[in-house]
Symmetry: none
Subunit: 397 residues, 2 copies
């Protein structure tokens, strides 16, 4: 339907509370969102239209990558990418189409070659930086290839192998439990055997280079992903988008989809201030709130409630900007009761002048069941937002 | 999404009341399910999550075959199979990949070669058995082929033609009304002409063999279906499934999908007893209740209500087993008001610890409209059940 797109000056905000959807839990009759006092969201829900979104499909629990692709109107299954690519994008690594990106975990190996700690005692980020420099200096890539190391955080790093005809269909090397040796990289299809050999050579050199390290004397590889170009939000929807996000991965996803990315922010307040500052310069704003998900992952119901309330208290600063379309939702559910992502559909609220009122008076999962957006695939949301922004023309005569 | 499957010890029950969905009818303000007193299902609905399922697509009335494929998570259009295959599976006929299965109706033909009774006066099953033996003895299959006859019930039998390169794209021979001669089997595609010729020869021999029969002096062929292997529930979902069903066709479908099938049961009580007995040995239980559909087909509203109430009264024996996931639904609607299958969506109830509560307090079609499962394709149900059983991992990072 991208051919229906028309440009205008209407502005759209996607306020994404990561892991927003929840569940009740012992002694808490409602979900986190239902429990939170959200007078501003409730007022928007009353005037606007609500519903529930399935990020991938009923019953399917999404990772943050595919869920965000769905939010931005991309088919989350077709655009599925490996973690390595998301990491590289999040670190703003200048990728080329000859790159194979991978996640690295620094690990501890004993003298028998068995992994004794898959995270090398969660070394600090500074040690990680030192180790990446060491690997960069000592490793001699095979002729015709280049190799890059970049620190993520603690024991996690990125490795990028650059060369011709590299493939991602290779087994990961993390044995998944301690007491076992690393798994040798093995080609899952014949075309990947040359790449598997390159990785074997690389791992042997890494082992030698790290042999004098007390903790982080080995690396484990996973999340193989070949870089490929995505159609940008500008190409597809004629938008001039800005991403405001504190976490690297979300900044990375935004970059993969051609969004401009605002300088790193560390608090919710800073994110709203960034939105205010950048307001004249863009027409699509992706504002990503991470702590809803983090507190959900912690299993901390009350703290997740507080994050939602904090967002609500800042909402007047967003509505004061008078966006043509304001969407408030999450990328997936992270119920504190499960302390993990889940498959439960995600509540969504859309506020615009062209909303057909439904009967929802409070923004919460139970009320959203009778919302006017009904239950939709998450990847349909972008079209609905564009429609309310007057940015989609008629299909057919 | 089958690659997301993980194995654990969680147990799932699918309690399928065939033709469960209904309609109000003169003097009855609610549907059969809404009219039935179902305190146990209502209690489960209150704690669990409800919704409505479309077996094939909105407006499409399904046969039992495709509806059951959808229930078990198979695309009902792509896996569509001819009735002959379902009959063969239901009779536990040992099929091979060289088999063309067909349904046979014994019929009465007059001296002018016109069909005067398409069901041969609904001959009894014993006569059917005698006729199948007679055909087996008298018919000489063409070189390179074999032919098998097996009694189903009353005037219905199964015929299996075994040979090389048999095709199913052939016209059925039942003229659909009396006073007309049988339709000659005609190839619908050129590749099927050899098979059509084989069937013509077979029908000529059958006519001769049955010429001395007073009633059943002809056979009509329909439901052509080449056997092909399906991915099993074990292969796709890592389940160790058991089917408990009294009717051959449902046992047949279960077998086609690789389920173990419990010894035939004839009452609801026996089915529940079977479930209790087999409980330790399986992790997925398909319990099929036929009389809801039969009473619907009879147009008998009150008796269908009674069947539903009988199931409800036995429900405590099921919940006492403490399944991790209990799904109660039908394969399609069979409203007594229509005395036939219908396209109306099917009420569904899912009970598990990870349900997000909705506002449904009674299990019935009207209440299910506001259920938390929303309205889903029936083929999505299996993924939702697996998710609640903790048997699906995350999609993407």
């Amino acid at each position: 339907m991208d051919e229906l797109v028309i440009k205008n000056n209407a502005r759209i905000i996607f306020l994404i509370m990561d892991g927003l959807g929840g569940l009740p839990m012992a002694g808490k009759p409602g979900t986190e969102l239902e429990t939170a006092k959200t007078p501003h969201m409730d007022a928007l829900a009353k005037e606007g239209v609500c519903g529930l979104l399935d990020p991938i499909a009923p019953g399917i629990t999404p990772g943050s990558g595919p869920a965000h692709f769905a939010l931005f109107g991309y088919d989350p299954v077709k655009t599925s990418v490996g973690r390595g690519l998301l990491s590289a994008a999040g670190l703003d690594f200048p990728m080329t189409e000859r790159d194979l990106c991978m996640r690295v975990n620094f690990a501890t190996m004993n003298s028998e070659g068995q992994i004794t700690d898959r995270r090398a005692g969660r070394i600090d980020t500074e040690s990680n930086e030192r180790l990446c420099r060491k690997l960069s200096e000592k490793i001699r890539p095979a002729p015709g290839t280049e190799v890059f190391f970049a620190t993520e955080k603690e024991h996690r790093a990125l490795i990028v192998l650059r060369g011709d005809d590299l493939r991602e269909e290779i087994t990961e090397t993390d044995p998944q439990q301690t007491g076992l040796p690393p798994v040798a990289p093995r080609a899952l299809i014949p075309e990947a055997s040359a790449t598997a050999d390159l990785l074997k050579g690389l791992l042997e050199q890494a082992k030698v280079a790290l042999s004098d390290e007390p903790k982080a004397n080995m690396i484990l590889l996973r999340g193989y992903a070949r870089y490929h170009r995505f159609q940008s939000l500008s190409d597809r929807f004629g938008l001039n988008p800005l991403a405001i996000a504190s976490y690297p991965m979300y900044r990375g996803i935004a970059r993969l989809l051609g969004m401009k990315v605002y300088a790193p922010t560390s608090t919710l307040e800073e994110e709203i201030a960034a939105l205010e500052t950048a307001w004249p310069d863009h027409d699509f704003f992706f504002v990503h709130v991470k702590p809803t998900d983090s507190r959900g992952e912690d299993g901390n119901f009350d703290e997740k409630v507080k994050v939602i309330e904090a967002v609500d208290s800042l909402l007047p600063r967003i509505t004061r900007l008078q966006p043509d379309v304001l969407v408030i939702t999450g990328d997936h559910s992270t119920p504190a009761a499960m302390a993990s992502h889940s498959w439960h559909p995600v509540p969504v609220l859309l506020s615009a002048k062209t909303c057909r009122p439904d009967r929802v008076e409070n923004f919460g999962e139970g009320d959203c069941l009778s919302g006017g957006l009904g239950r939709m695939p998450m990847s349909s949301l972008m079209n609905v937002a564009l429609a309310h922004a007057g940015r989609l023309t008629k299909f057919g005569a």
